[in-house]
Every structure is written in C-alpha cells, then in structure tokens.
C-alpha cells in the first residue's frame, strides 16, 4: 500500500475521500466517547470517578507511541528511497505525536494526584513517556534548525530511526530501574479490571483519538504535497511556443 500511495497523484485521490472519513469517524467517536466516559459509565470501585481520566490518558499515550512508530516507518522509507512524500509524512506525524505525548503526561499527572496524592512519580511508564517527549522535541528541533528542508529531512530520518530502535531499550531500562527503586505496590493507575462498562468508553475514545490522528496527518500531508506541487509548477512552467510566420 505504501508504494501505491507513494505516487503523489494517487495519494491525493486517496486523501480526497480518506480525510473526511477519518474526520467523521473521529467526530462521532468523540461525541459517543465523551458521553460514555463522563455520563454513561460507572465509577470505579477503588478510584471513584477519577478512573474517567483513564479515558483521555490511555488513548493519548497510545497515540503518542503509534505516532512515533508511524514517524519511524516513514523515516525508514524516506531514508532508503529518498521519497519526498515520506519526508512530508514523517514530519506531519511529529507535531500531533508530541502533543499527544504531552497530554499523556499531563493527564497522567492529574490522574496521579487524587490517586496517590502526588502530581508526579518517577515510575516506569511516566518516565518512559517523558523520554519519548524529549525524543519528539529533538526530532522537531532538527527540522526547525536546519534551513534546507531536504537536508533536514535526511538528518531527521536518521535520528528518528536511531530513536525508534532505542525506545524498547529505554523502556526496558526504565522499567528495570523503577522496579529497583519503588516498592512493588507503587504502579501506575492500572486499568481497573476489564469489565465491558470500562472497556466500551475506553475503546470508543481510542478509536476517536486514532481517527483524529489520521485526519490531522492527512490534512498536513495533503497541504504539503500540494504546496510542493505548486512550487514545482512555478519553477518549471511548460514550454511556450510562438509561431512567428507561416510560409505558404
């Protein structure tokens, strides 16, 4: 599918119908999800109503990680095949990805305060998400600092891949570190059981967040592809032929 979409014309045709589809799924997902999360689901036996924060925290964290995976895959394609569309895609995934990472941290912090009376804990998951935020910031900084964007794309793709390989290493190290230093009971607010009353709002919000990410990315990729096309057209206008005289 990637090589199919790599052709800009085909991509644009795909985006034409895919973008509103993602948008509508996201909209319906959020409306339903918010209703379920805030109104139509029960409070948790232990955590009370604060479990509702899970419905915005977990989807954000999931999108943060999925966005980076997409970014790394696009970077790989960009590095191997030097494809502009892959560059554009990787860059498009970065800002929403970083935003979701930030949200995961903030909502996680707000979940922690009522649960264990502390806004921040250096536990395995939150520390890993914080490090992921650093990686996003570094990636965006590479794009921002290097003026020649083709050049920036190349360096950013290399960094993205190194980062991607490191993420399991970092996750493993941080979890191991956390198990050393925290008593076993200090774990992140866990998903309290898997009853369908909890799963339904959670899954709905996951779909909503994912569809939103898709919509956001498609919008940016489409805009950049069109911008690149019109820039090329301006530089290479078609040849003009004028006939001066016709000899009978």
């Amino acid at each position: 599918m990637i090589s199919y979409l790599a052709n800009p014309k085909r991509y644009l045709r795909f985006a034409r119908y895919a973008t509103p589809v993602f948008g509508i799924v996201a909209a319906i997902g959020f409306v339903t999800g918010l209703y379920l999360a805030l109104l139509a689901s029960p409070e948790d036996y232990q955590q009370g109503h604060t479990v509702r924060i899970m419905y915005v925290h977990v989807p954000a964290a999931w999108c943060a990680q999925m966005a980076y995976t997409a970014l790394a895959m696009a970077s790989l394609v960009s590095f191997i095949w030097r494809h502009t569309l892959a560059d554009i895609a990787a860059r498009a995934f970065a800002v929403p990805g970083a935003a979701f990472t930030f949200l995961a941290l903030v909502t996680g912090s707000l979940w922690g305060k009522p649960t264990w009376n502390t806004y921040w804990q250096w536990d395995g998951r939150m520390t890993s998400v914080l490090i992921l935020l650093f990686i996003y910031i570094a990636y965006l900084a590479i794009w921002a600092i290097i003026e020649d964007k083709k050049h920036a794309a190349r360096l950013a793709s290399i960094f993205a891949m190194v980062g991607f390989i490191n993420i399991p290493i970092i996750k493993f190290s941080v979890d191991w570190w956390n198990s050393l230093h925290q008593p076993a009971t200090f774990s992140s607010p866990g998903a309290p059981g898997s009853s369908s009353e909890i799963l339904l709002p959670l899954m709905t919000m996951m779909v909503a967040y994912t569809a939103l990410f898709g919509w956001l990315s498609l919008r940016q990729i489409t805009t950049e592809v069109l911008r690149a096309q019109s820039a090329r057209k301006r530089q290479n206008p078609g040849a003009k032929v004028t006939i001066e005289a016709v000899d009978a």
Partner: protein, 36 residues
C-alpha cells in the same frame, strides 16, 4: 456540573486540557489550505 465529588477538579482539568490541546491541533489543521 456532573457530580464527581472531591476529585472533580482533576477530572475536569484532564478533560479540559485534552480538549484545549486537541482543539489547538484541529484548528491548526483546519487552517492549513489544501487548494483542492
């Protein structure tokens, strides 16, 4: 407001900031101009 008890402010804070950031992302994307 919905009865969330003493922790309501954290719940609203979490949803509020999520809405703000997501709203910002949507606005940013909506203002991009794909000239179709």
């Amino acid at each position: 407001m919905l009865e969330f008890g003493k922790d309501a402010i954290f719940i609203w804070g979490a949803y509020g900031i999520s809405a703000a950031v997501i709203g910002g992302l949507i606005l940013r994307a909506a203002l991009m101009k794909p000239h179709d």
